[in-house]
């Protein structure tokens, strides 16, 4: 219920959306734990609401759900500390997807220059696979996971597949990253639930 009264987020120090250091404020030495958590929530709300305002203007209805889900995960990653491996893994996926999109657009442009008439969209564009949030990037998947460390329980393997970037982590790092990822996921779910409640009452 308090989520509906989300206080205005602080203005980020750098308006450049690609800067991931804006979440570093939450790790300032002077911050207490509560203050750090509040700052992170404000940053999370800022990133997600800004993405929502852009989606509203630019995105056709059929693609909106997918775009909102991607905005949710990239907002989580941007609001998190840049030292977190799961955050860097998610942002790496965002950049990889963006570069693939740009390459496809460049291919279409080249084709249009060669042919006088406008060319139809390449068939490969339809077959693009969505990278799920819990799925590791292609580069990480190419590397075989490290052999199970001493004392690592069998269930840790499933956890590695769910936490972004988990494939390459030591067991102890995996546990730390999982805890931080869980906190961010819960905060994101609370934020989105609050927005749904807010919009539903109009």
């Amino acid at each position: 219920m308090d989520a509906k009264r989300t206080p205005p987020p602080p203005t980020p120090p750098n308006p450049n959306p690609s800067v991931i250091g804006s979440g570093a404020a939450a790790d300032g030495g002077g911050f207490g734990r509560g203050e750090a958590a509040a700052a992170t929530k404000h940053m999370l709300a800022f990133h997600f609401l800004r993405a929502l305002s852009r989606i509203h203007r630019a995105t056709p209805v059929t693609r909106r759900t997918r775009t909102i889900r991607r905005a949710a995960y990239s907002s989580m990653a941007r609001a998190a500390s840049p030292r977190r491996a799961w955050s860097r893994a998610l942002l790496g996926q965002v950049r990889a997807r963006r570069s693939r999109t740009l390459m496809r657009r460049a291919a279409v442009l080249v084709r249009r220059r060669v042919v006088a008439a406008p060319a139809p969209s390449p068939a490969s564009a339809r077959g693009v696979r969505i990278i799920a949030a819990g799925e590791t990037s292609a580069a990480a998947r190419a590397v075989p996971p490290p052999p199970r460390q001493q004392g690592e329980p069998p269930r840790a393997e499933a956890l590695r597949r769910l936490v972004p970037g988990g494939a390459g982590m030591e067991y102890s790092s995996l546990l730390e990253e999982t805890a931080d990822y869980l906190r961010s996921l819960r905060a994101q779910v609370q934020l989105m639930q609050g927005l749904v409640d807010l919009f539903s009452y109009q």
């Binding site: 205005p8 800004r50 491996a85 004392g151 906190r183 819960r186 779910v189 989105m192 639930q193 749904v196």
Partner: protein, 88 residues
């Protein structure tokens, strides 16, 4: 991160148990259990299930937000609230 870990020597059993306890406190309906291998496996299973359920909630809420935005007028109070938050 790996090099930093290895330079400190192998991580101790005590530190692993500390991380397990921290993870346990984040799970819903978490109960205090022993630190045996079997209970750790069960804890990790619950953690996996919890992450999956949160992923599903993000999917469901994305769907609902998409529907709500489709019906939202550009001048509605919700849109105005978003703009005022972004302006501050």
């Amino acid at each position: 991160m790996s090099s930093r870990r290895s330079s400190r020597g192998s991580i101790s059993e005590e530190e692993i148990n500390e991380l397990i306890s921290k993870l346990q406190s984040l799970l819903p309906n978490s109960r205090r259990r022993g630190s045996s291998q079997a209970s750790t496996t069960k804890l990790l299973k619950e953690t996996c299930n919890y992450i999956k359920s949160l992923h599903r909630e993000v999917d469901d809420l994305s769907d609902r937000l998409s529907d709500l935005m489709a019906t939202m007028d550009h001048n509605s109070p919700g849109a105005e609230i978003i703009r005022s938050i972004l302006r501050s």
